[in-house]
Amino acid sequence: MDYSWNWGIFWDAAPGESSSYLYWLITGTSWTLATTLAAFTLAFLIGGLVGTLRTSTLRPLVWLGNLYTEVFRNIPLLVQMFICFFVVPELLPVSLGDYLKQDLPYPSFFSAVVALTLFTSAKLSELFKAGIESVAAGQRGAALALGLRPTQMYLQVLLPQAIRVVFPPLTSEALNTLKNSSVALTIGLMELTAQARNVSEYSFNTFEAFTAATLIYVVVSLLVTFVMGRIERSLTIRGATR
């Protein structure tokens, strides 16, 4: 195999720029982190809300929540990104569409965050719904018998228990969001995978570039797992049995 190894490639100056290839990977990692963090936070809030509505007794809200979940869960993320990036600006009123296309800074970042949020929130709504349903039905009855309003019942009885139940799968959804953020390269976001490919195309040191990206993804995954583990532990109530 005649491949010319050069692990020092990351310290070489990138063509046309005063910075090094390493800097490309760092900016890529920053975009990946920003996209993941923004999308997962929003998806957590929206998914939690939609999942809660789907367990309510108000028929129209349940129906709307189900519709939201089915639509955004069953369309591939890539297609949702294309729609957010190419289609939505065309369908909006002209002035708003022009703003999105011309004046908004980082259009691919915002489209990526919106698409990733919709896709992830649909999965999280499913998770939250299952979590709330798994909290014994007796809890709901007990809360109502104590005279709690529905809002109080959800905020003080059902959701605090449900969040603890769904925490392990929530962690793996956070990792999925991190991995899914790489799909944004198809609409031109220069995140980690895109930058790794960039380094490989300019330097021909493909092996080194992809290895670096792989290691960064593994390290960030470990970091996410660690942080989620800390949050999970802080939520644990000592002596509580499930």
Binding site: M1, N74, I75, I83, P93, V94, V218
Partner: protein, 228 residues
């Protein structure tokens, strides 16, 4: 406002149909190979042989910790070099994006299926294994005829759910410029400048197919609750 022109879809139909056939073929092949290889990986993970256990664990962990897009790039770059090493040819063996896509999806999905199947095998109670041993079955026979059939049946809804995810993920062969369903639509859309109609149509088709399949998984789960 934008005025929609539905006739674009009609004109694009032959190309879209070919693309959809490719997407379905890729999904079916990756599912079949993925489940077989995933079963092998799961058995390796649960075997007593340390080396096998370590290999399966490393394989599954690495595959699951990096994004699919990066895995596709890895394979597209590595496979020609690996084939060159394997056959001792002078130059890297060019295999093209389509073969790359098939190999990548089979290997990638195997890791995900194997985790589901491992869970299934572990969920079968130890009594089944002991009963098989008491009947005089060897461990291999017990696995083949007693434990695996039950595990796969119990995990069928999850395997189908994973297949729906796989079906959606195949759209990522876009990064290799393959004309799968999304890729065909994208090529047509860019040529004729009709992105709105084509992307909305593509989304609708995916939505209908995945919705029907996910209803099927729900029905499978319900039926299982009844028989178990």
């Amino acid at each position: 406002m934008f005025d929609l022109d539905p006739s674009v879809i009609v004109r694009a139909m032959p190309a879209l149909w070919n693309g959809l056939k490719f997407t379905l073929l890729l999904t079916l092949v990756a599912m079949s190979v993925g489940i077989v290889a995933g079963t092998l990986l799961a058995l390796m993970r649960l075997s007593h042989n340390r080396a096998m256990r370590g290999f399966a664990l490393a394989y599954v962990t690495v595959m699951r910790s990096i994004p699919l897009v990066l895995v596709i790039f890895w394979f597209y770059f590595l496979m020609p070099l690996l084939l060159q090493m394997a056959f001792g040819t002078e130059r890297p063996v060019q295999i093209g994006p389509v073969v790359t896509a098939f190999v990548t999806f089979c290997m990638f999905e195997a890791a995900y299926y194997s985790e589901i199947i491992r869970g299934g095998i572990q969920s079968i109670s130890g009594g089944q294994k002991q009963a098989a041993a008491a009947l005089g079955l060897r461990p291999t026979q017990a696995m083949m005829y007693v434990i695996l059939p039950q595990a796969l049946r119990r995990m069928a809804p999850l395997l189908l759910t994973q297949t729906i995810i796989l079906f959606q993920d195949t759209s990522l062969v876009y990064v290799l410029s393959i004309a799968d369903f999304t890729g065909a639509a994208s090529k047509f859309a860019q040529r004729d400048g009709r992105l709105v109609e084509l992307y909305l149509f593509v989304a609708l088709v995916y939505l209908v197919i995945c919705y029907l399949l996910s209803n099927l998984t729900k029905r499978m789960k319900r039926n299982m609750g009844r028989t178990a």
